[in-house]
Symmetry: C3
Subunit: 185 residues, 3 copies
């Protein structure tokens, strides 16, 4: 299992299934990094509450984080938000990219252009960033075309992000395994 205190460079991508513990892992890594460096913690939420189920989840996640975290919302303008909140002494956590893709799809935004902007923003950050996303491509092909478009968009985004960041952790059952970057013993 990947240690939460292991160095990840400037950027880490955390990918895992639903309820895999990916957000908890990412948050623990962010807090350990901030503790080591005396950095500020910024939580960049992509979630939009459309229904009670989602609202409950957002509030529960927020309650899990302590007072050290500043929370900002970026359902669409993610690259711009990262640039605005950036700083040498900042660790940002983006949770999560699949919701962001979903928001872009529903708002009929140009996903490819938004992805280019995000990749450029990550490359240009002075601080550190951890991005969380949901692996959604290992089940049966979905019946409806929108779900297939979402799945395709998420997978292509994951490839772009994984290629850009310094480190990638895969999470299953609460266990993280480093697939890119230094693999600590």
């Amino acid at each position: 299992m990947q240690s939460v205190g292991a160095p990840f460079g400037k950027s880490l991508f955390v990918l895992g299934g639903a309820r895999s513990g990916k957000s908890r892992h990412a948050q623990a890594v962010a807090e350990a990094a901030a503790d080591q460096a005396g950095a500020r913690l910024v939580y960049v939420a992509t979630a939009q509450a459309f229904d009670g189920e989602m609202e409950d989840r957002i509030l529960r996640h927020r309650a899990d984080r302590d007072a050290r975290w500043q929370t900002v919302e970026a359902p669409i303008a993610l690259a711009a938000t990262l640039a605005t909140k950036d700083g040498a002494e900042v660790v940002m956590l983006v949770d999560c990219l699949t919701l962001w893709v979903s928001n872009l799809l529903l708002a009929d935004e140009a996903i490819a252009a938004r992805t280019d902007d995000l990749v450029k923003a990550i490359a240009g950050l002075k601080g550190r960033v951890i991005l969380v996303s949901n692996e959604v491509g290992q089940g049966i092909v979905p019946d409806n075309a929108l779900a297939r478009r979402f799945r395709d968009a998420a997978g292509l985004l994951h490839q772009r992000i994984a290629a850009q960041v310094d480190s990638v952790d895969m999470v299953m059952a609460g266990l993280a395994q480093r697939w890119k970057g230094a693999r600590p013993e």
Copy 2:
């Protein structure tokens, strides 16, 4: 690939997708462990046959195991069954936890309390236990709320079990990879 004869401590969690070969891997590990220690083998089945498709699967799995195995059924009372069948010279195989979660959901049982009981039972065993489960969280978000509840419950259970056991093997295409515990060369 993980060797089936590699030491796994007192408890092993085997997680994989449908038809990944996870049950076969778990069974081979259990038999190798029992052979080394002269232990008895107990198969703890969580399956309940609701239809012909499931009944066929149960009978096929039973035919795959030889006469060394004692089979007990524990669709709901899993922790109590483990305690009853436990012994220093016993290797138990629980197959599988996702069916158990499904049974609990359908019977309107308190999954969190049942999970606490299971985790405590695993911690207190004199013998060894191998638990098998199905990764179900890497596809598209399911349309219906019950499937989402099941997926959430399974994922949370997997995190609890993986945190408790000594070793975790991930299985894909019949190949096992150790994600927790000693990684043999």
Copy 3:
């Protein structure tokens, strides 16, 4: 991350989710292997275009490959096609096995016998082969029986292929990890 130029023996199985970058990885490995050995490249397409969406995808994939590739179609008779195109100086890329399983199911072919033939064909090749497939078993159990049959057939096929080939790469987010065969540093 797995280097595309790493040795894989005579046969490599590349398994990953939808839009995981598995085809791109397999293609890069094939081209690197052909470059090293001065071999010819043969693309064995299992796809059949039933609709516009699939046709677009086939044409896009074909455009991604350069003139070095010869393309043959093998929606059903895969083992025979491999034997026909084989040669000591050939690298074949089969993309992908899940579509082949799907074709067999829809044509009511005997999947077990076809799988036996494929495994034998791989074992007997003079040249090298890379086979790509889609992991489809890590989501929720599908509602309809045909999708469950497909998922079962794909999973069983993956186990057979992984047991036969020299090397297996798992791909997520464009990153490949070797699960079987030499793991280069």
